[in-house]
């Protein structure tokens, strides 16, 4: 019995520390980065004033700290605003929707490995809340629930613009879920594994999926098979990343809330903290999305170049704290990827809706499908004879050409009656 209590206590501590002290603070930080980075891109300064107003307490100077307090001030502002519920909304769903956007994003945190195991007093503990053997599947299953939040928000608001936003998001998120799922099949085939923790451990030992430049702690070029697998891995990375953009409703695909057409999109009728929850949900989804990309393709918490075993060995007495360093590396990678998200947002203009759908169904779906077979061929190649590999390659090229031809033909417009 005490053992069970101990386990429960550890789980609670992990949930509190990893979710509320690591992931949730990343949300305001990414909001801050978003504002500062976009300002820098546009030759502006961005919020750099909000700090601790020491002058009010009689000190000489305020403590600005680059305006890092800004998101907190925004949060306080949103808390203090009037929480207005319009008259003709469907109240239950209207109240449920914001929660349904935030909760799935935060639930998916539980399978992300944040670092290598920590040992304290002879007890080794993994830095992951739930060490599930179906990691990516769990993430997809739970994060696709986000669409309910947005759709319900659009429908229950009983207003036209949110409704259109909700409908758009339904179509968009469900379409891109397919590309999302299909694109990581090659990756999972390569690792032969669905446990995110072991996937990262494998990458730490044998080189990241997109940077396979070391083998068991020694630097060196990869063998032919691994080098060839880099191609489907990169295609998978591209499709997965772009689909994550669509899943999180980020800029090139933010049609559910595009301000120029839909006022505010699905959250037009929301105010105060309910609106803030949508905002938070979007950024939390972005954090989780980049965590997933970093975990699957960019080595998760590993520093790479064969240095991870050295870090894992660091200890003071019985306290192996290498995991904490790995946690820091993971967060650094995460922030770098979030910066990439932001760079994309301020670079790429919004897609038109039919272009978005075409990209999802005609290009990514097919590309991901072909990619699966390409990866399979490369993985199976050592056990096959040259003839079978050749036939496979020819078949693959033929199918690809056929698909491209079909896509091209279907694109042709009917000829005008008179020229």
């Amino acid at each position: 019995m005490p053992d069970l209590l101990f386990q429960l206590a550890i789980i609670v501590v992990k949930i509190v520390v990893l979710t509320f002290c690591v992931v949730l603070p990343l949300v305001p930080i990414s909001v801050y980065f978003e504002r500062r980075f976009c300002a820098v891109i546009q030759d502006r300064v961005g919020p750099n004033r909000t700090g601790i107003p020491l002058t009010l307490l009689g000190f000489k100077k305020d403590f600005h700290f680059f305006g890092l307090i800004q998101p907190m001030a925004d949060g306080v502002k949103l808390f203090l605003k009037e929480d207005f519920t319009p008259n003709y909304v469907r109240k239950a769903f209207y109240w449920l929707a914001p929660a349904l956007t935030v909760a799935p994003a935060l639930i998916t945190v539980c399978v992300v490995p944040f670092g290598s195991p920590i040992t304290l007093f002879g007890h080794t503990e993994k830095l992951v809340i739930a060490d599930l053997d179906v990691g990516p599947l769990f993430v997809f299953a739970v994060s696709s629930l986000t669409v309910y939040g947005i759709t319900l928000a659009g429908w229950s608001s009983n207003s036209k613009y949110p409704f259109i936003g909700g409908v758009r998001s339904t179509a968009q998120m469900i379409s891109y879920e397919i590309a999302l799922g299909l694109s990581i099949i090659p990756v999972l085939m390569y690792f032969g594994e669905l446990n995110l923790g072991r996937i990262v451990q494998h990458q730490a030992d044998h080189g990241w999926l997109l940077l396979p430049l070391w083998q068991n702690g020694t630097l060196g070029l990869p063998d032919v098979q691994t080098a060839l697998f880099w191609i489907p891995a990169f295609i998978a990375f591209l499709i997965f990343t772009i689909s994550i953009f669509a899943e999180t409703n980020r800029m090139p695909f933010d049609l559910p809330e595009c301000e120029t057409e839909l006022v505010g999109g699905y959250h037009t009728e929301y105010s105060s903290m309910k609106f803030a929850l949508f905002f938070m949900g979007e950024y939390a989804a972005m954090v989780i999305g980049s965590a997933l990309i970093v975990t699957l393709f960019l080595g998760g918490w590993s520093l790479g170049f064969g240095l991870d075993p050295l870090i894992a060995k660091l200890h003071i007495g019985g306290f192996h704290f290498g995991g904490l360093i790995h946690l820091g590396i993971f967060v650094a990678k995460l922030l770098a990827f979030i910066l990439f998200f932001i760079l994309v947002r301020w670079t790429v203009p919004r897609f038109r809706y039919d272009q978005l759908m075409k990209l999802g169904w005609v290009i990514f779906f097919e590309a991901a499908l072909i990619n699966v077979f390409l990866a399979a061929l490369i993985i199976a190649a050592p056990e096959l004879t040259a003839a079978i590999i050749g036939i496979g390659a020819v078949l693959l090229i033929a199918v690809t050409a056929a698909i491209i031809w079909v896509a091209k033909v279907s694109e042709e417009h009917p000829k005008p009656l008179r020229v």
Partner: protein, 188 residues
């Protein structure tokens, strides 16, 4: 002239695939980001940038030295070199003012005053700075060159009442202006 049919240029493969343009876009935005961090944005020097982008950081840095000659700030009343109020409360500015921001209560100058021959001066002269649109019509219409738009632009207040400039405040902003109108001087 024969009709020349111009062929619409077709997109080539590189343009169709959209990817090159994306990379180009990333390079462009990153170039801006790096340049603005290094204080090398286009126009950073001429705009007196604070060191990040082209922005001047307001309370510490002011645009005052760069204000053009024709800048239209707060309207103000001026006195001449002998300390006489130039305004003769003809009320032309009050009537021309498009947003009706000016309100003048005229009064007579008592006969024992050295400037008795001017006959009138404003008893009250209020400009509501919430209404003022800085159009400069009052300055244009004034026959006595008594009202000018100065370069003050920080007109703030905590109450609506603070935003109404009375006569004292207007002379404080305006100060003394010499020359131009000499018809009331004894010497002439």
């Amino acid at each position: 002239m024969a009709v020349i049919k111009v062929q619409r240029p077709k997109l080539n493969f590189g343009e169709k695939i959209y990817f090159g343009a994306l990379i180009k876009g990333f390079c462009l935005t990153m170039k801006h980001a790096i340049k603005s961090l290094l204080h090398k944005s286009a126009g950073a020097d001429s705009l007196a940038s604070s060191g990040l982008g082209v922005t001047m950081q307001f309370p510490e840095q002011r645009w005052d030295d760069h204000l053009p000659e024709y800048y239209r700030g707060a309207p103000a009343l001026v006195t001449d070199e002998q300390g006489r109020e130039r305004c003769v409360s003809c009320q032309l500015c009050e009537f021309i003012c498009p947003p009706k921001a000016i309100r003048i209560v005229p009064s007579e100058i008592p006969s024992d005053d050295p400037w008795a021959k001017v006959e009138k001066r404003p008893k009250e002269f209020d400009i509501d700075m919430i209404r003022c649109i800085y159009c400069g019509m009052c300055e244009e219409v004034c026959p006595e060159q008594a009202i000018f738009l100065r370069k003050d632009y920080l007109i703030t207040g905590l109450k609506r009442a603070d935003m109404v400039h009375d006569k004292k405040k207007l002379y404080e902003i305006g100060g003394v202006r010499t020359g131009l109108v000499n018809k009331w001087n004894e010497l002439k």
